[in-house]
Amino acid sequence: MTDQDLDRWTAEWQQGTPPTADLVRMARRERRLLLAWIAVDWIFGAAGIVFAAWLWFVLDTPAMRFAAVGIVVLIVAVLAFTVANWRGVLAVDRDNNLDFLAHAMARCRARLRYIRFGWKVLVADLVVIAGAMLLEVRDEGPIRLLGIVLMASTATAAAAGILWWWGGHERRRMERLAAMQKALGAEQESGHE
């Protein structure tokens, strides 16, 4: 084997240039997408706060105040994560490959911790909802109970579904990152043999 092979392949490689992409346009599009994602988080957060304020000030029963506090706590937890996550997403691009992988794994671990925290919040929320329903039944009777149960079950099922899917996704990502780190690290160790 000679470096003629490498020169030949390099020439061949350079000839395989795909149609030139407009990277500036692509970068702008990606930025718009990212901003849209962040905006959606904040719009949903703001809507949730407005809803909680409506529960607190308009319905103004102990049960609804209880629910409003639960909603606000959830929204604050989600938005705090969103801010921390987006800050970390592109912060380590300039590192070399191995450092980048290490950071990517650390971020993945942080997201998995956040998901575990999410399950705990969901369980706590169920306790809050159960408490709110008891107060509702005590103060207003069982008239609106069915509606509240349906709404609470739908919201809980949706949150549990998201956490379940996201947890699986992050675990698989973590496995792939670990496999990559192992492969690249193993090559590094055996590189001087």
Partner: protein
């Protein structure tokens, strides 16, 4: 900078992702990461090293986020596609020559995608014109390790492509 390295970045995206839609997604991801990182470029390394480091990082991130693609084409099938490629610079190559060159490059790209990740990274950086030291800086490994991986990568590519085309 984005325009200057457009062709190089397109080739890198193609060496990590064969599915066109996902390749476009990866390229977009790389473009955005570069755009964000540009203000922090301080000439500590060459522009090319800086660009390729970010592209390679984004490619790893892309691989980690998705199911690995299934290899549907074996290299015995690729061997049947062997074509004669002209390697001399020709200011106005004929259409059949252009097609042959493209097929040869496509075949090489598929072979590179089939390489194990550590070897693929080094081969791609070498094809993009980085020397051992620059590749070592991009990958965070030693120069000696780059040389070893390059040697293994060349051997494997040679086996897959079956000698000169």
């Amino acid at each position: 900078m984005l325009a200057t390295h457009s062709a190089s970045l397109s080739r890198i995206a193609a060496s990590y992702e064969s599915r066109p839609a996902l390749r476009e997604e990866l390229l977009q991801d790389i473009a955005f990461a570069l755009w964000r990182a540009l203000p922090t470029f301080r000439q500590e390394s060459s522009e090319r090293t800086f660009v390729l480091r970010i592209a390679t990082n984004r490619a790893l991130s892309h691989l980690a986020a998705r199911q690995p693609e299934k290899v549907t084409q074996t290299f015995s099938a690729l061997d049947a596609e062997k074509v004669c490629v002209t390697f001399f610079e020709d200011p106005a190559p004929r259409p059949d020559e252009l097609a042959a060159r493209h097929q040869g490059a496509e075949r090489l790209q598929r072979a590179v995608r089939a390489l194990p990740l550590p070897l693929r990274q080094v081969m791609v950086l070498a094809f993009e014109g980085l020397d051992h030291e620059e590749s070592a800086r991009v990958l965070g490994i030693t120069v000696g390790n780059v040389a070893v991986r390059l040697h293994r990568g060349k051997n494997l590519l040679k086996q897959m492509l079956g000698g000169p085309t």
